[in-house]
């Protein structure tokens, strides 16, 4: 297990390590060894489901869904305290998919957690479905509709501020794309979260180094990315976004509601797990023909066999 790199001095006093524990109390599977195997398997299942949704009428955002798959799986399987049978449970954790185009990954995560029947995933993008290309608020488990980049972190600031004010125990998590960080609204939110010491808000950056038109560093360089967040007052944890243990460790190291907020920069691979798509800008949005789907799935399964 690799541990996350703590890149700023941390207010250890303010930290509470209870996150994973709490999640467990709201989960059926409590045995940690089982949980670990299950989580990796869930991530694999999520990837298959993403590819399946990519066969929908207009395809889906395959690359950025696959890069988020591991971290979303850890979040939904082990971290987030949620009650699928009571989606509005006041003490739940709030998750906001600011990179709303990765909706396929979110739907898979929600279904794994029991918010949606797995069969419903087949309706992705079809007429009359609840599973739009970007998440709709009326879907249980979705806090806010997203899809226009750069909205999520402000929503998270408001949410975390309200949770602190009302004394509820839930945390707020916001997942953003790296290209998304080019939106100025992200930095407004970042500045205010740090100023307000919203330790209950955690940002996660899916650092897959690709935006639609190519390599972020060629298109609109984001480096030094940790430096940007630090200069905006955040504590930065840089982790391998496909290392489940590293992700777990990061999520276990979050501050309390008045601590310095943490951003987890998850180094990821766009299209992760599917050799056809890995690190390919074309993987951003793909409509998988039956043939392409077959090849992609075969590649995904071969890779996973090789790794286990």
């Amino acid at each position: 297990m690799s541990t996350p790199t703590t890149t700023t001095a941390t207010d250890h006093a303010a930290m509470e390590h209870a996150t994973t524990e709490h999640a467990a109390t709201e989960r059926a599977s409590s045995d940690s060894a089982t949980a670990e195997r299950t989580t990796a398997e869930q991530a694999q299942l999520m990837r298959e489901q993403i590819l399946q949704m990519g066969t929908g009428p207009d395809g889906t955002h395959v690359g950025g869904s696959l890069s988020s798959a591991d971290l979303l799986t850890v979040l939904y399987q082990e971290v987030l305290r949620l009650r699928p049978e009571e989606p509005d449970w006041p003490d739940r954790d709030r998750f906001i998919l600011s990179k709303g185009h990765a909706s396929a990954a979110l739907y898979a995560a929600l279904s794994a957690r029991g918010f949606l029947p797995a069969e419903e995933l087949a309706e992705y993008g079809t007429s009359g479905s609840r599973l739009a290309g970007h998440p709709l608020r009326r879907l249980p488990g979705v806090e806010f509709p997203t899809g226009s980049l750069g909205h999520g972190l402000s929503l998270g600031v408001g949410t975390a501020l309200a949770l602190r004010r009302t004394g509820r125990s839930g945390r707020a998590y916001v997942l953003m794309g790296d290209g998304e960080l080019q939106e100025g609204s992200v930095w407004e939110a970042a500045m205010s979260a740090a100023h307000l010491r919203l330790g209950g808000l955690t940002a996660i950056v899916d650092r897959n180094r690709l935006q639609i038109t190519g390599d972020t560093e060629e298109r609109m360089g984001l480096e030094p990315l940790a430096g940007k967040w630090r200069s905006f007052g955040w504590q930065v944890l840089t982790v391998d976004g496909h290392d489940l243990d590293a992700l777990r460790a990061a999520f276990a190291a979050l501050p309390g509601p008045t601590g310095q907020p943490v951003v987890i920069i998850a180094d990821t691979v766009k299209g992760k797990g599917v050799p056809l798509f890995e690190n390919k800008k074309k993987s951003h949005s793909v409509k998988l023909s039956p043939n392409l789907h077959r090849r992609a799935l075969a590649g995904l399964r071969a890779r996973s066999r090789r790794q286990s």
């Binding site: 226009s148 929503l155 408001g158 501020l161 309200a162 009302t166």
Partner: protein, 321 residues
Amino acid sequence: MTDWQERYATATRDVYRATLLDIAKSDTRVFCVDTDMGGLEDGFEAELPDQYVNVGIAEANLMGVSAGLAAEGLLPFANTIASFAATRACEQVKVDIAGNALPVRIVGTHGGFSAGHYGPTHHAVEDVAIMRSLPNLTVLVPADAAETEYAVRALADTEQLPGPVYLRLGRKATPLVHRGPYTFRIGQADLLRPGRDVTLVASGPVPVAESVAAAELLAGRGIAARVLNLHTVKPLDAEAVLSAARETAGLVTVEDHLVTGGLGGAVAELTAAHHPCRVHRIGVPDGFHDQVGTETELLARAGVTAPAIAGAAEEVMRERN
């Protein structure tokens, strides 16, 4: 001066602040979200620091944060300048607040030309058109300080108003419309003067005041002009407007806003659909209004004056015949 007159001889902005503080004292859901407006910190924050947050000079953040607060059951009042609410933060209002039908109260000062010599970046003459095009939003344009107090108190009632509201305020004291308490109901036009010949439909402080004065002028010429104060531009009081369309020769709309897309646009759309009649729209013409002047001077240049309104009413009557 009556008590009423003395109490409300002030800017809509000022009475808003006092009323907000008052309701917040007994309603702990009320949350004042500031973007460095100046003034809220001395009154509101000083008294109720736990119900105040400054999110920076950052209007997009203002709307997103307010949406987050509202989703958690608080009742945020999001404070900025009208033009910034409608344009700078437009998408956040659309997607985060309006789309989710969250009870955020978006309060924009400097409505219309009330920023006076501050110039075109601070004027809001397209805000009503924009806000009217966003889903679920109630759009309120109080005509004076008293009406502002009624409106702000109404905003605290989330049973009556479970969705988002845009409240458009001014900057300086403007004339009082009523001499004492009256019935204010959101969505219901305020009949200021009955009349069977022609109807003046107005919203906003100067437009309403000038319309009342225009009705006086018309009365002197033997014309009975009905005057409606449409403090609620959305939802529009269809019954009041269509009755006026049926019962009088036609309508003159008067607003401190573009002649397109705002009150005049809403009235034209409604009547054209259900009872076509002449609608003469008085307001700000299309263009970038980079003239220096006070609110009333700038509006006078745009034709928002009692004589111009009276003239338009006469024209509407002539054309009917």
